[in-house]
Amino acid sequence: MGKAEEALSVCLNAKDQLYTNDSVLIDDLTLSTLQIVFQRLDHLDMATSCYEYACGKFPNSLELMMGLFNCYVREYSFVKQQQIAIKMYKVVGEERFLLWAVCSIQLQVFCGNGGEKLLLLAEGLLKKHIASHSLHEPEALSVYISLLERQSKFGDALEILAGKLGSLIMIEVDRLRLQGRLLARAGDYSAAADILQKVLELCPDDWEYFLHYLGCLLDDGSSFFLGNGGNSIYPPKHVGCKNLDLPDEVFDTRISRASVFVEKLMAECDNASIRSPHLANLEIQKRKLIYGKGDPGKLVEELMQYFSRFGHLACFTSDVEAFLLFLDDPNKSEVLEKLKGCELTSSSQTKALGQAITIFKVENLIGNMFSLPVCELEGLAVRMADMYCKNLPVSKDLDLQENMHGEELLSMACNVLVQLFWRTRNVGYLLESIMILEFGLTIRRYTWQYKILLLHLYSYWNCLPVAYDWYKSLDVKNILLETVSHHILPQMLASPLWSDLNDLLRDYLKFMDDHFRESADLTFLAYRHRNYSKVIEFVQFKERLQRSSQYLVAKIEAPILQLKQNANSIQEEECILESLKNGNHFVELSNEIGNKLLTFNEDLQLRPWWTPTFDKNYLLGPFEGVSYYPRENLIKQTEENVLKNIEKRSLLPRMIYLSIHCASSSLKEHTEANGSAFDPKLSLELKVLLERYARILGFPFQDAIELVLGVSSGQKPSEALSSDLIGWINFVVFLNAWNLNSREIGFSNNDKPRPSTWHLVNSLLKKYIIEKMRSTGPLLSSPGGDLPMLVQLVTEPLSWHSLIIQSSVRSSLPSGKKKKKGGVTEQANSHHSHEIQDSIQSLCDAIKEVTEWLSAQINKLDDVKFETIFSLLQVNGEGQGPGRILHMFENLISSVDNTALGDRISQALQSWDAVEVARKVGAGQSSVLSQFLRICESKIKSLQALRTHL
């Protein structure tokens, strides 16, 4: 007996004793011990029933009732929580239990299916309690006010805040913020503005509240209604201009009031780090423009003022981003010209450096770099790197732990080089962009911004093992797994690095599942410590993570990976499918996906510009010359794609299962390999899933069949399937399996003979495998490329098809019990046998070509001399081309001045080894190919073994 079973048995025994033996002592310690064990054994219900029984026996025991409440918290049974909390409140009359009940009611409304009317009940309970006992906890007051706010009873809330209870909020500015918000939401903008002005007097740097203040001055309280961003982690962007029809004189008076107030704030703030009042002037100019009363020149002027004060700060560009992008193109150019014309006469070198970096950033932000000629762009990258080198001495005395001055210059130079590569397709620029980041990391190994850029560049260049090493060095763990994994996970899913992918998926799923398990205990902790607002927050947060799209992707991709890894053995595959309940659970997931409001918690802001979302990489396409890419549209498209993908991929395990069964019954008239009768429902079910799968691919079933037949026969171009090649070939594979049993797709169509579906699979698999292999090209000179697609073709549709073959072969093997059949059946079986042999041959031929190609590629990479890689960096006769920055680094190293740079930087420079980086590129690519080669070889071996059985 395993320990878990033993523990369960002991607990069940104790539970029986509890129910049957009156002399058994029932105390909270015993019950909570039982509860802990039951919880660990995933039997929360048993713990609950123990407590329910005990509470029935000792109806007024507060300790037991609290234990029972805790059980309901763990089960997310909000109604029961409410009932037991009320009971506790009645027994002891304590405020906290009433608040427990109120929270439970709120949870029914926010997270359950309770109607808003329930809030009235909660409000009534609180009112009654306040009348007799008042309130004593600040959190209780904030729950009460949030209840009223939710019901739009702003006046009532304000009255309470103004009364005696208001003093529970001990920090004045917090009380004012709340008051301002309630007034604004009640539509009393004038009073709200007065209060918000007081908030700003106390906290002059509070930008969010300045925006609220300005909004209220202009009779617009919409900034208070923004919510928290719905399914994305980013709050929605506030446009903040609803009342555009304010009379002119009213607008003028109000906006001047804002200006005067901002002037006053600036005069009173002697703290040089307070930026908000200065930025407020830009916002005021922007509002004037929106209301048709402004002058863009003034906004430009304010921008320049802001630059002269804060231009050296790393956050300058993100501070003014919204204003810069608001200007039209000529004004944007004017800003840039003016910035470039500024004399950077800052007293300190670091400030001057900061300002110079800001100018580069502004140039990038307004899209100017995309319109520069190649030679100028190259010059820009060189200038950035040169500035980095020249300013190294400024960081001489910094600790290794501290960020160096000018670190951003290398990221920016890298971004420019990537653009140069995109434009010219000169791989040298790509190599140089990698080199400069590696150089930066040699000097200071902690710069995570370089690591993120690098991992994307290495991924793009098919050096996934190196990319993964850099990813690991970011030490992504715990909640970062949810927000940062997107940098590597999508590439890994399409790679042959199965073991690493397995680690990634396992760690991520473990983190999420652990959180779901422990979250309720933390919610109870919030109850106990009377932080009621956190109760609601915790439950909502857990739900948010449960609805995470990435979590669902990982949940489905983890078993698909297992299926891929074991596809050479049908027996092992069947065990896996059995553990997955034959894929049924995932079909349910697919059914539900349309009704689920999924969340997208990936932090996409840290992604490089050339791959703003995980399904978009500009470098894979031609240079489009566009200067600005609005992320929002892309994100929406990505989210739709993710949903569709989850819906489609969730069908795979079940389709594999059904295909194996259909194939196994194809040879012997509805008898399966184990001799049992084939259930025709399975074939029908596969058809239903195929129809659905086709719909997800965007076609009605019949049209989808016509399309694949058309492509196979050459009547339709091969690009017809390129929108989702893997999806389509999977469809063809499962279609064949279904047809083996159903035989609905005829072999002839009037007088034109139609190929069999076996042939369809063979031809399409071979066609695309060869096509993708050829288009992949030599990895070193062809970054991007189709290698991931080729890997997926072999490890998914080809593997699923090999399972169908294995199933067919297995069912054709003579078994003692079965009688030999003759006549028509035998003929049909013999025909099938040929089809299977042909298919095996076809697959073997295709994979053999791939293995030969892979071996040749690996040999080539092994033979590559570093000079070959370095030859990519060739500066032409006019002194242009990739390699100039690297050359600059070499000069720097050859003339290292220890006194100027300090020991640490000097030593780091001496350790720089460009050859090592070049070697890493070659070795990384070789490693991916070798792992893929191993997979291919094992497939050939398994297919050849099958042939011997026929």
């Binding site: 993100s318 902690y446 927000t483 979250s519």
Partner: protein, 174 residues
């Protein structure tokens, strides 16, 4: 341009640019949530325009008698927002809450003995090295226990440095 407000769970999804820093530990969920559930007033986040997270502070209040004190568990600022005295603002906020709301005697924190830049910063903020804790960090590196007295500790007794280092098991609170 610093909107400082209470930290909430959704901020955990947006703090990657702060936490990718190698000196900023990303704790497990129960650690953050325990702080949120028990000491929400000691967990604050600073936001910049566009709701970008600039940095955050997490801490707690604990102890008995004259050891009742605020504790800074973590304070961190994103590279983009460094050198703007944000850490100071966040520290002042926590000190204020410890002092005025919870009437604590002092605020303390632990720092790696090798983290010179941080030690210098805390000294500038009025913290003194109260004692050395031997092998406090993963049994390897020593930690420094730094303290700042609050108004309730009129005689500044809480910050008189200890003469000898202590071991982690001698700590009253960790």
């Amino acid at each position: 341009m610093t909107t400082i407000r209470r930290f909430c769970c959704n901020d955990l999804l947006r703090f990657a640019s702060v936490n990718l820093d190698h000196l900023t530990e990303t704790f497990n969920m129960s650690f953050y949530m325990t702080y949120l559930a028990r000491w929400p007033d000691y967990f604050h986040v600073a936001e910049a325009p566009g709701n970008r997270i600039m940095g955050y502070i997490m801490g707690k209040v604990e102890g008995q008698g004259e050891s009742w004190h605020g504790h800074v568990t973590a304070v961190t600022v994103s590279p983009e927002y460094r050198r703007q005295q944000l850490a100071k603002k966040l520290m002042n906020l926590l000190e204020d809450i410890s002092d005025k709301i919870d009437k604590a005697y002092f605020v303390d924190l632990f720092v790696r003995a090798s983290n010179t830049p941080a030690i210098k910063m805390y000294e500038k903020l009025g913290y003194v090295i109260y004692r050395r804790v031997l092998r406090y960090y993963s049994g390897e590196e020593d930690g420094l226990d730094m303290r700042k007295a609050l108004s309730r500790d009129v005689e500044k007794k809480s910050i008189i440095p200890l003469k000898r280092p202590v071991t982690p098991d001698e700590l009253e609170y960790d």
